[in-house]
Amino acid sequence: MSGSLAETELSGFARSGTEDRSQGVSRSLFWDTLRRLFSNKLAIVGMFMIGTVILVALTAPWIAAQHPDQNGIFQAFPQNNKLPPSINHPMGTDVIGRDMLSLVIYGARISLLVGVFAVSLAIVLGASLGAISGFAGGTVDNVIMRIMDIMISFPTVLLALVIVVILGPGLFNAMVAVGIVAVPAFARITRASVLGETGKDYVIAARSVGAGARRVLWRHVMPNTLSPIIVAASLGIATAILDAAALGFLGLGAQPPTPEWGLLLSRNRGYMFTSPWMVFFPGLSIMFLVLGFNLIGDGLRDALDPKLG
């Protein structure tokens, strides 16, 4: 009887609908998420925008009209100064006659680098602190989170300013500062989801089979906290780019002649009314990239939430 029971159950399974559906598409969480992401029109627009910027950044040496020399300096053509947009210079030229389009194209490399580097730094530091905090609890948790609270109580740009002043101005230091400023956000998100996951049955199940603390944290809890971290990361890149641009604008980030978008804005702000293209195109580029990351971030948030599937 028992043998035949198992058989009938198996055959029942083979006939089921879930079985039929899963043969066509692999239904792992990763592919499910991608499928949902690609059915979100705004997220596709976002991916298209980011894709464009990445492509521009990668192909800069071929598509730009003007190129920097080994020291990263664009040659000045004083006779071409403040030319409005035309066929030769689609974004016009700046005060010293550099081609704005070329500057913006090379600037894309810097902005992407800033965003990715700063957020990576923030994730590594923030997620570790948050995970330790949530998992250990007690005094450790209290100390870490109170420090995060103090950091979060400063306006981000002000805090970044303080850090840059300590480290000294420059693009790399600005990236570090922007990354550190984002740490509390990641620490909090990670801690909250670690706390949420730790109480779940599958974690108790893992402990019940004898898994140690390290295995429980890294093999079980952390992979399940990834969704909110990924979402926060894509939104965080946008913030980081803005913050870095703000530092550049204040003269504490990238230094001239780096074609960083924020710096371009700041250097040309005196000509806003006479030669608006000098600030319009760098500003538009910042907005384009930030919006792209925001759209992807929102799309990911929906795609990673199985309840909305």
Binding site: L5, T8, G12, F13, R15, S16, G17, R21, G309
Partner: protein
């Protein structure tokens, strides 16, 4: 007895990304005034969706009521205006849900929520409404009701919250109460209290009840008639005694066999139904139970059986082979 509610060929589907979910597939039945009807079935059988469809509470999209008529009080609820259906809901036709905590607003006192409903539906003054609320809460067995009006939902226990929900449902003297798994989240001793309360209310107020549950025991205890649902179809319908004692549909037989019985030797193996319910996405024609049915033949896979009367009156079954199964030939 006068007919209170008649449902004709109700069909509800959900249009999801994975495909069309055939949740309710042509449900027809009627209920008389003052009658208690149990609707039993497992998760995903369409028992809750059919109840929500009656009140047009299906979220649209993705849900859509494809066809059917729901006659209540001389009107087809599926075609009346939005304003009219709102008057019916919570008025003549009340509904109680499984999770009372999520149907009560946690930020408002229980008294305020019932008083509001009364003033809205019955045009009462605040004082009248308060008196009536106290009366209702007392009716459903909440001790010291007067002093509990200013309590918030979280200050009530699960069983008491469900009583509050029932009091809310009763507030406008409904002719029909639809209760969707109202005791599933409760302990057995509390469930017994609620079942007892419903029996008393039905006797005192003469209202009809549609009790949706997965618990065959509660239906045997409470209901006069029963619908057994499977994959969006009613597969067996009749008086409780007929359905439980002269069971005709192989699914109902299997369901009853899956339950341990007090009068059998506890050591015997339960006669489980193999497999699990079909996927309701793109449900194929044919008997929905065929894949799990020990009696399935070619015909069962190809043609959907309709409800037809059995040898006793008021007992119908949707099975091609019920006669052979009843006679033990199949």
């Amino acid at each position: 007895m006068k007919e209170l509610l008649r449902i004709e060929d109700l069909q509800t589907r959900f249009y999801t990304r994975d495909g069309v979910v055939h949740a309710v597939n042509g449900v027809s039945y009627s209920i008389d005034e003052g009658e208690i009807l149990g609707v039993v079935g497992e998760s995903g059988c369409g028992k809750s969706v059919h109840a929500l469809s009656i009140l047009r509470l299906i979220p649209d999209p993705p849900g859509r009521i494809e066809s059917g008529e729901v006659w209540f009080d001389g009107k087809d609820l599926l075609t009346v205006s939005d304003e009219e259906i709102r008057r019916v809901r919570g008025g003549q036709l009340a509904m109680v849900f499984q999770d009372p905590m999520s149907s009560l607003n946690p930020a408002m006192t229980v008294g305020f929520q019932i008083v509001e409903a009364l003033r809205l539906h019955l045009d009462m003054t605040e004082r009248q409404a308060k008196e009536r609320t106290t009366e209702l809460l007392t009716t459903v067995g909440i001790p010291d009701a007067k002093n509990r009006l200013d309590d918030y939902p979280h200050q009530f226990s699960g069983g008491m919250r469900q009583r509050v929900m029932i009091a809310m449902g009763l507030s406008c003297n409904p002719k029909l109460l639809i209760a969707d798994e109202p005791t599933t989240a409760l302990d057995v001793t509390i469930q017994a209290q609620i079942v007892d309360l419903i029996k008393r209310l039905q006797a005192e107020l003469g209202m009809a009840v549609i009790w949706i549950t997965h618990d065959l025991g509660v239906v045997a205890d409470l209901a006069e008639k029963v619908n057994v649902m499977y994959a969006g179809y009613i597969v067996e319908h009749g008086n409780v005694r007929d359905v439980f004692k002269r069971t005709r549909h192989p699914y109902t037989i299997g369901l009853l066999g899956s339950l341990p019985r007090l009068d059998e030797d506890p050591g015997t193996e339960l006669s489980a139904i193999p497999g699990f319910p079909p996927d309701l996405i793109d449900l194929k024609p044919g008997c929905p139970f065929a894949a799990r049915c020990p009696h399935a033949i070619e015909q069962c896979w190809n043609e959907t059986p309709r409800l037809e009367p059995t040898e006793t009156k008021r007992h119908t079954v949707a099975c091609w082979r019920w006669e052979e199964i009843a006679q033990g030939v199949a």
